[in-house]
């Protein structure tokens, strides 16, 4: 196993999961409570990464990050280098790629909070923000854990987007899944197996934790 690729992947997944908590919570709140009539369109856009081939997503991210897009130019002006084929570019692509895996569990758990509890909080004088942090969020812990774990695990195993956006630069964009692909291409089946097994075990552990938490600990009785 390539420890460099391993730690890079962990770093990427953790960063993506963290960003998705910050970005995903307000979006999920909006999805759960907005009564905007065109909300379904936004929901469809947010869910696209689930069905889109990663190469398609990766291609458009690459174009968007490239020197011909406003985003790419702005970043280049700011930092002196392009986003494509960098770790930062990888983070952005992964955030988009894992977005629904965080936001959907968040939104589902927000929507599942008893509306009478929200009403009670309001009649007791609590602002929307206070209601969110004191009532909605604590009662959505299973959904939060699920969203964080899924986006982490999903980023851990991504391949297509990484390949399109990041390429295969050791220490910068070379993730575990790319490493496995490389080893298979080089007929190094033993190496591929050991790396793949680590990924398999980690993914299984994460999902076990998710289901265990959802089952018992956070049910208020």
């Amino acid at each position: 196993m390539d420890p460099q690729a391993f730690w890079l992947t962990i770093r990427l997944a953790a960063l993506v999961a963290a960003v998705l908590v910050i970005v995903g919570l307000p979006v999920a709140y909006w999805i759960a409570y907005s009564r905007w009539r065109w909300k379904f369109l936004a929901e469809a856009v947010f869910s696209l990464p689930i069905v889109l081939p990663p190469t398609v997503l990766g291609f458009y991210v690459l174009v968007a990050l490239g020197p011909h897009s406003p985003l790419g130019r702005g970043w280049e002006a700011l930092t002196g280098h392009t986003l494509a084929f960098t770790f930062e570019g990888l983070v952005i692509g992964s955030i988009l790629y894992s977005f629904p895996f965080a936001v959907q569990p968040f939104a589902a758990s927000f929507a599942a909070v008893d509306s009478r509890l929200v009403a009670a909080s309001q009649t007791l004088g609590a602002s929307r923000l206070r209601t969110f942090f004191r009532v909605i969020l604590p009662l959505s812990v299973p959904g939060l854990v699920t969203g964080v774990a899924l986006s982490f695990a999903h980023t851990l195993g991504e391949f297509g987007v990484v390949l399109m956006v990041g390429g295969n630069i050791p220490g910068v964009t070379r993730t575990v899944s790319i490493d496995i692909y490389d080893k298979v291409q080089a007929f190094n089946y033993a190496g591929a197996n050991s790396t793949a097994l680590v990924l398999l075990v980690i993914s299984f552990l994460i999902l076990s934790v998710v289901y265990a938490l959802n089952r018992r600990v956070w049910v208020w009785k």
């Binding site: 008893d114 009478r116 009403a119 009670a120 309001q122 009649t123 004088g125 609590a126 004191r134 208020w220």
Partner: protein, 393 residues
């Protein structure tokens, strides 16, 4: 948290407003804290809430079948649901006015709301639940107020527990305490006692009445239970299909039982104000005198002080009539009187008997005939002790 304007009740504008709101209940001068409601709200194809009611301080019972709009009315008062048109005001303080496009959010209405399912926060302790609405106070004042209310609702020992770990009656008290600790301008109770057994219910009713004696604010109490109507209600508003079909004191509403829902309420055809004369704890009975008469009835013992006022309800079908002075009966109440009128409702004879108060008696047609009852007849009313149902005023 609560803006000071909510606490300032101006009298001049109050008088001006009262000419506009057209309260249906006969109220003389508007009370300092009266809530006036005049709203319309359509939901779905065939339900419309269309109401104009006044809610003075004291307990107003909202009675009616499910789907009548009781909870919707409470939600409108609390600001959780927006009426299509109309106006809701606590005297001059406008909570909602469609004409002036005022719609105060629930946070600013200072409404104490005990929900049907209580809506206690399951992840917070009893104490944290109670303190939820007073978080803007400094810690010392907050603790003082929560301790006081926990004490007065006798749940102080539960403060560290979660709602899931306490009994139904205790949860009810927590919900009441949580709603009342914010010092609300109006209290809304949506069938708060529906799930409780009679004994627990009676205790909480006592606490609620005691609280209400101290804080005279409008209390709107939704219930299906006839007993609660008489135990708590100073006024009753009967809702049917989104409209107030009857309102007044429990007694007034029942004296005109034209409506099905009202008739449901009118299980006691005879309701009298009474005063407790003496209590006989060892025999489990009390003597109560009916007001404006010399009639003394022996009733079951309830928790009430000598001299306190009660209501006595007697079902017309629970009264025996005798045409001669009865003797050798187990029934403890024998009252002489005179038949003033005799009517017939379906297969039941309805006799009105004057005996110091007017008592309605139901008997079979055969019984009427065999007694040769006529208006003007002398009769004796026989009422068992346990047919006298005492209700708190």
């Amino acid at each position: 948290m609560v803006p000071s304007v909510l606490r300032d009740y101006g009298f001049c504008s109050a008088l001006m407003e009262s000419t506009l709101i057209n309260p249906v209940l006969p109220t003389a001068a508007p009370d300092v804290r009266e809530v006036s409601v005049q709203i319309r709200r359509r939901s779905g194809k065939d339900f419309e809430l269309d109401l104009a009611v006044a809610l003075p301080p004291g307990i107003t019972i909202l009675f009616g079948p499910s789907g009548a709009g009781k909870t919707t009315l409470l939600d409108c008062l609390a600001g959780l649901v927006r009426p299509d048109t109309g106006r809701i005001a606590i005297v001059e303080k406008i909570l909602f006015d469609s004409a002036r496009e005022i719609n105060l959010p629930p946070q600013l209405r200072r409404v104490g709301y005990v929900f049907q399912d209580l809506a206690l926060f399951p992840h917070l302790s009893v104490e944290a639940n109670v303190e939820y609405g007073i978080s803007s106070l400094d810690a010392q004042e907050r603790k003082r107020r929560s301790a006081a209310i926990l004490e007065s609702f006798r749940i102080a020992h539960l403060r560290a527990r979660r709602p899931g770990k306490i009994s139904g009656g205790e949860r009810q008290r927590v919900a009441l305490a949580r709603a009342l600790v914010i010092d609300p301008a109006i209290l809304l109770l949506d069938e708060p006692l529906a799930a409780l057994d009679a004994a627990t219910k009676a205790k909480i009713v006592d606490d609620l009445r005691a609280w209400n004696q101290q804080h005279r604010i409008p209390v709107v109490y939704v219930t299906h239970s006839r007993e609660e109507v008489f135990a708590l209600g100073e006024r009753v508003i009967v809702l049917e299909n989104g409209r107030a079909v009857a309102q007044g004191t429990p007694h007034e509403v029942m004296s005109a039982p034209r409506l099905e829902t009202v008739a449901q309420l009118a299980g006691f055809e005879n309701i009298f104000d009474a005063k407790v004369i003496s209590a006989h704890a060892e025999r489990g009975t009390m003597t109560c005198q009916l007001e404006d008469s010399a009639i003394e009835l022996e009733t079951p013992l309830v928790r009430a002080d000598v001299g306190s006022r009660m209501k006595v309800g007697i079902r017309a079908g629970d009264i025996l009539l005798a045409s001669l002075p009865p003797a050798g009966l187990s029934a403890r109440n024998i009252v002489p009187g005179r038949v003033v009128s005799l009517g017939q409702r379906d297969v039941i004879a309805v006799a009105k008997v004057e005996c110091g108060v007017e008592m309605e008696v139901h008997l079979t047609l055969a019984a009427r005939d065999s007694l040769h009852l006529q208006p003007g007849c002398e009769v004796w009313l026989v009422v068992k002790t346990h047919s006298c149902h005492l209700m708190a005023v």
